[in-house]
């Protein structure tokens, strides 16, 4: 177990280092305008001096090494363009809490709605609940999220009679972003839970339970549900990852002052340091999400043997 954990964590660390290096190298290919707040008005000499001062003329490996050293000191550079000369970490510290709140709320909503939906679909397989649910899942999966989010925003704001943009003090304006973030996960949970439960219900222990006279509901909830839910756990941390990515679009649609909207904003502002820092953060969250998912699986289900499972999902 400990050996497996160490190996898995080590692999995640290597992945992170590779991602950070790749992101850093890609960023060096960016136009240099992104390092100056007022590039257009500067003379060539000023630009050279500015690049020199920021250490951008050094050989790339030296830059990369310095970047890692700074990273360990919690220094991600300063913003240019979004908020001039403010440390990136300071900006992020303002923005992260609201994204976390929204992400957690949406996951709670999607669990509360998705799990019963999947269970009902498996319980009444082939009945109208199942058919309506399948229709919903097909729609959510086939139509790009970017499109139904827009429709949700358009008709939701008209229906609830609230302003288009987010206002943290008004509880009503939380509803739409949280629910649109949850939609994808609801469909995802329902689809997989239904599939696992249908798979499980063909197994021998279910037949035994039926033979000994357990009622349909007991079998469904005490036997099948418990076994079917184990593989679902693996997706839980990853769905935190998915809300982070989904929220790039949603937060900026509703102008939520969180991390997702920030990425879109700094891309439009050509703020290289900020883009780099946010991409790093997302990659880290993603890698940790997958790591936690695998660890939770192995802890929860004693049948899974350690170390033999290669390649994650």
């Amino acid at each position: 177990m400990i050996k497996y954990l160490a190996k898995r964590i080590g692999r995640s660390l290597i992945t992170l280092v590779i991602i950070i290096s790749v992101v850093f190298l890609l960023m060096r290919m960016m136009p240099i305008e992104g390092y100056f707040p007022n590039f257009d008005k500067m003379t060539d000499a000023q630009i050279q001096a500015g690049l020199e001062a920021q250490g951008l003329l050094d050989p790339v490996p030296v830059q990369l090494g310095r970047f890692f050293v700074n990273l360990f000191h919690g220094d991600l550079g300063v913003s240019h363009g979004y908020r001039n000369n403010v440390p990136v970490t300071e900006i992020l510290a303002d923005k992260v809490p609201i994204s976390i709140q929204m992400g957690c709320l949406s996951i709670i909503v999607s669990l509360i709605l998705g799990i019963p939906l999947g269970t009902m679909m498996a319980r009444y397989k082939g009945k109208w609940v199942d058919k309506m649910g399948t229709l919903f899942i097909v729609f959510i999966q086939a139509v790009p999220a970017a499109v139904y989010y827009l429709m949700f925003q358009l008709y939701g704001t008209l229906l609830l009679d609230i302003p288009l943009l987010f206002d943290a003090a008004n509880w009503k304006s939380w509803i739409l972003p949280v629910f649109s973030m949850a939609l994808g996960n609801i469909a995802y949970y329902a689809m997989w839970l239904r599939r696992y439960m249908v798979d499980e219900s063909n197994k021998d222990y279910v037949r035994l339970a039926r033979a000994k006279g357990a009622s349909g509901n007991t079998i469904m909830f005490r036997h099948i549900f418990r076994n079917a839910f184990v593989p679902m756990v693996q997706y839980l941390p990853s769905s935190f990852l998915n809300t982070v990515i989904g929220s790039i679009y949603i937060e900026s649609l509703y102008s939520v002052p969180g991390m997702g909207g920030l990425l879109v904003q700094v891309i439009k502002d050509n703020d290289n340091n900020m883009v780099q820092a946010i991409v790093l953060l997302y990659a880290t969250v993603g890698v940790i999400g997958l790591l936690l998912g695998d660890i939770m699986m192995t802890v929860l289900d004693p049948r899974i043997s350690f170390g033999t499972k290669e390649g994650g999902r």
């Binding site: 992945t15 139509v143 358009l154 439009k268 997302y282 390649g311």
Partner: protein, 343 residues
Amino acid sequence: MSSLTDRYMRKVEKSAEQKLQEKMDALSQRTGMSESDMFSFADYDEAEAEKTGYSNYSYWRSTLNMFMKNKGAVVMLVVMLAIIVFAVIQPYLPGQMDPNLCNMDPLTYITDRNIPPNEKYWLGTNVIGQDLWARIWAGTRNSLIIGFSVAAVEAVVGIIVGVLWGYVRKLDFLFTEIYNVLDNIPNTIILILVAYIMTPSMGTLILAMSLTRWIGMARFIRNQILIIRDRDYNLASRCLGTPTWRLIVKNLLPYLVSVIMLRMALAIPSAIGSEVFITYIGLGLPLETPGLGQLIDDGRKVMMNAAQRYQLIYPTILLSIVTISFYIVGNAFSDAADPKNHR
């Protein structure tokens, strides 16, 4: 007591006899032989004895039959083909406008902006007076080109890497480690980064989307090939000296048709979705190349004005039809192409 048992037994026997008789009738009807024919000795006939049986099973015919049974999918297939054909021939039809032309009133030289749908502009015009009907079809065309290119790259790269990964044992460790690293990187991040770094164009978008999608395909093909590469018939083939490439193409890949087709069909909705997202971030196609994502983003900007909302609604409707039809057809085809479902 005994009479009760007797009566019961008689009843059971009677119904059993009845059922047997029904079955016999059905059988003689099917084979065209009377009951006595069926239970008489067959004479020895040399011609009959030489007859060899063969199965007229054809993979593609069975796939087609299975697919045709799914009525909803057939309807969606027709819709899908109609949209593709129309998107291709639309610019050559009479009376179509240039999607990039900003229409003006010939007398007053005032741009025809935000004109609601009428006889001249079938779906109205956008904020700078371009014909929405022409733009929507040009956008569908471009989005489909992006989708098909991404699907093609995914299939080619995914199949080659997957086959190498699964078939060549020495490469397995190396590829698995590479996969573990690549799979951990969020796709959206790569998409954003590549689009951010390169100049916006169709090539950039195709590259950005293709960069990550092949990984999943390669992984799946590798797993399937690991399962079937050492089955007896492949072992026999190898012993008989079949070249490796022929083994792969003839024995292994046909097993994977359903998966490959499914992933290719799903690549199109997902490529269109990515385009919408990338356009929203401001890294999408250049203005003179309309895409469905671009049109939706243009519509989004005016959506709170009820009179201009049609500029969002029409592209959205077309995009939803395209993506849903590809999704359903892809799923139905992959079910039909799976030999396990052939009867």
